[in-house]
């Protein structure tokens, strides 16, 4: 019944939408659907808890407070049904709302600005067809003065460069396509590029890993040991397509990205992304000296690992392909910032299930069994064994993450 009503609403209101294109151009609408997938619009704009598509209402956690995703269905009142194409393009690529107010960059317009106008209007064609959600979402939860949208004008001056992606004629079409997707629609840098104090990208360290929402999004350039240097393009494609490859599995916010976006993209586009990522230089190849096996924490960690971890990850840290991630040689295990690792050990996590890799295996939480010192010791051990090398994890770091988890809750 509800679906019937919504459909009626589309028929009644859709024709009156300010969208200027041909509502019967199904090829274009399908292309727009695909581009909306590549841009992961649904990742924020779908109603929370598997609710109505693009209806908004999801709370987006930022370092500065919570921003609520807007209703981008063709609802004329609080959706975007009444917007002209130019207003739509300005909002997505410049972060300026129809009423002239600034959007917060939780809406990744600093990346979407690289998307061509043609592609944006194609997405618009698709958005004009989603069922109208006749509701108005709640407000944001940002402290003063960050809640003043006018302040974003100043922010933009420092942190935002408008303008579409320009292909590099000296590079292959595939790499240019990959760059367009990664830098634009894919907005990979929103998580994987470290941020300055005001939340803008540290462009000199692009794709070298960033902290967000209690996770650390690892480096995705071609470096070793912290980037994707050891992954072939095929392994990157497999990871994006299925959420799993022989090294690791997508969990946390990336699980959502794989579920809603990359697993639904074409192999050609995923290969283009992989080609581009393989050309990004990483944060450097210098490897820290591993913590000595004789270190007290290492010995304690080895004992805990044998008891609690080896059943799945094996005594050699190699795991089982596409089921239990390999810890040996893992770039995320050796990442500079151990936030995600600590979080996973304390709370556990479930990897994404996809059409191609439906298993969705999980790691249980050990926060109940391991105190801060023990969790730090076992992490220090896995970061410095089997050829791995990374700074020791100290109990204070575990303490801080444990405290923050009561806030993030999973």
């Amino acid at each position: 019944m509800r679906r019937g009503l919504a459909l009626f609403a589309v028929l009644a209101l859709g024709t009156a939408s300010a969208y200027a294109g041909d509502a019967q151009d199904f090829a274009k609408i399908e292309r727009g659907r695909y581009l909306a997938v590549a841009g992961d619009c649904a990742g924020c704009h779908d109603a929370p808890g598997g609710g109505d598509p693009m209806a908004g209402g999801m709370k987006i956690e930022t370092p500065f407070g919570t921003v609520t995703a807007s209703n981008i269905t063709p609802y004329k009142d609080s959706g975007i049904g009444a917007w002209t194409d130019d207003e739509f393009v300005r909002a997505v690529s410049e972060g300026i709302r129809r009423d002239g107010a600034h959007l917060f960059p939780a809406m990744p317009y600093p990346y979407y600005t690289k998307v061509s106008r043609d592609d944006l209007l194609t997405i618009r064609a698709y958005l004009s067809t989603v069922p109208v959600a006749q509701h108005t979402v709640g407000g944001d939860d940002l402290p003063f003065p960050l809640d003043v949208r006018a302040g974003m004008a100043a922010w933009n001056k420092v942190n935002f460069t408008a303008g579409p992606f320009k292909p590099d004629p000296n590079q292959s079409a595939e790499r240019n396509r990959g760059a367009y997707l990664v830098e634009g629609l894919g907005h990979c840098g929103a998580c994987h590029t470290p941020k300055g104090p005001a939340g803008g990208d540290k462009t000199s360290e692009a794709y070298q890993g960033g902290a967000l929402q209690g996770w650390f999004a690892p480096e995705i350039g071609n470096g070793t040991p912290r980037g994707l240097g050891t992954w072939s393009a095929d392994e990157i494609v497999a990871y994006l397509k299925t959420g799993h490859n022989k090294f690791t599995a997508a969990a946390g916010p990336m699980a959502d990205v794989v579920d809603r976006s990359t697993s639904r993209m074409t192999d050609g586009d995923l290969r283009a992304i992989a080609t581009y990522l393989k050309t990004l230089k990483g944060s450097g190849n210098e490897t820290p000296k591993p913590v000595a096996a004789s270190d007290k924490a290492m010995k304690q960690g080895a004992a805990i690992f044998g008891d609690e971890c080896a059943a799945c990850h094996t005594g050699h840290g190699t795991g089982s392909p596409r089921l239990f991630p390999s810890l040996a040689g893992s770039s995320s295990v050796q990442s500079t910032d151990p936030t995600s690792l600590i979080r996973i050990v304390l709370n556990g996590t479930r990897s994404v299930g996809t059409e191609k890799a439906p298993t969705s295996p999980a790691m249980p939480g050990f926060g109940r069994l391991l105190n801060d010192g023990e969790a730090a010791a076992v992490l220090t051990y896995i970061r410095n064994t089997w050829g791995n090398a990374a700074p020791a994890v100290n109990p204070d770091q575990v303490h801080d993450v444990r405290k923050s988890l009561t806030h993030h809750n999973g």
Binding site: A311, C312, P321, P361, A362, P364
Partner: protein, 592 residues
Amino acid sequence: MARKLPAKDVVIVGLGWTGAILAHELAQEGLDIVAIERGPWRDTATDFSPAYAQDELRYRIRHELFLRPAQTSLTFRNNRSQTALPVREWGAFMLGNGVGGGGLHWNAETWRFLPSDFSLRSHLTQRYGAGAIPDDMTIQDWGVTYDELEPHYDKFEYLCGTSGTAGNLKGVIQSGGNPFEGPRGRPYPTPAQKQGYGHALFGKGAAELGYKPFPQPSGNLSQAYTNPLGVEMGPCTYCGFCEWFGCANYSKASPQTTILPVLLRHKNFTARTECEVTKILLDKEGRHATGVTFVDTSGTEWEQPAELVILSAFQLFNVQLLLLSGVGKRYDPLTGEGQIGRNFSHQTVSTAYGFFDNKKFNFNPFAASGAIGMCVDEFNGDNFDHGGKGFVGGGYLGQVQTNGRPIETTALPKGTPLWGLKWKEAMRDNYLSTINAGSACHGSCYSYKTNHLDLDPTYVDRFGRPLVRMTMDFHDNELKMSAYLTDRYAEILKAMGAREVVKKPRKGPYDVTDYQTSHLCGGAIMGTSPQNSALNRYLQSWDVPNLFVQGATAFPQNAGYNPTDTVGALAYWSAQAIRSQYLKHPGPLVDA
């Protein structure tokens, strides 16, 4: 008055192995399916953590994964002269509860039945004459042959990733496998599991006696495996916590580790857990099922209309629902008329303990799996000449010790006190050097006129429905067979070098408090006509053609093997008939 839900194409009662298989097969036809499961949702990720899965007290002793007798129970008596009383603590068999059913808590022994098992009465009559079968023994042919089931055995084993060594590939006997098994179309999906010292020594002792030992086929996998549905399984770690436990390592085949991740991606499939089906609804003529009623956790009763009803609960409760719903005719043991409740059977399990010199033998019994072990099949089914033996039937013999769990696995020599210093000393001296396989002789249990199920006249469940009443006893045939198998087993223990062997043949009367296996069977059996069976060869009810009854409920008698592989094969066989025949022309698939 039940509140009516929107109609579904298919309602599935119970989400264990067969419910999951049928749901997945029918979901591929685009049908709108709901599975209604009495117990809770259970999944590896959320319920079975390596941090606590190996908790013997919680799972083994306190029965975490099982039905609570307060939810429902059964009543039991050995014969008609007794008054049946309710079972208040599970004993002879365990009753699963929740998603995965028995497929979650099993040991994962994955055996095929022998070709002759499927034509048992014809086969025995032909070889020994009709007189070899006792008058009150009601064994019969299944109506389906091994050859017909072979591709479906194969499908189930490849779903599970079963680890084993083939003994017969397309009629060619293979060394190292079971030479008595029926021909397989292709090898097992994964190689056999590794064997512990005690298991390997059994193989050696058996070979010395001239038998042909082989590794037990195991659903605890020897290596990582990706099944045809794309679901990944991990290698078994030999932790020794399989039976009555959930596997935390994605290593034991179960609906959770093989089908559910794919089934749940089907938008046309819904599971309702903690909802108990109370009745199958029939039309006025009693010839067509219109759906089921169920009760949710708030006590609200719902009606779920459906075009097709798949009964896939545990054997006892399948039969109870048929009896409560008035499907078919209730079995009367005095006249032999009626089919519902007839040919109920179980298993005839026995063992012998082998105590070895602890200075020479260290078996490390804790490193094991639920389906580890070396077996011989010389004494199963009709693999040996029963002439002059005074019984028919048999079972596999094996050192199939699954664990060294401290509370449970404590076989001690005769004369050891049950507590105190002497007990502790005996425990210390024998724990590592004793062969103690619970189901060492996995004997068949054939069916009899008197062994049956019906509804109890006195005791009711929490909804006021009569409990199912079990009338069950061992007959001389099974007890003789058990003594014979146990003697053969003891000889092998001696050949292994045991200093003391204690034989534990099965003795009558049937004891509902003493654990054997959870392999209850029969009660609504398959067969060739409505006069000898409740179901046709496709597990379709003769009386209500839009009702299919899955599981060991359909076995006319029990063979000397664990039933799950056959249960899985029958489910795929039945599903294929529904997909290829029934959906095109709903109605009886076999003319009565």
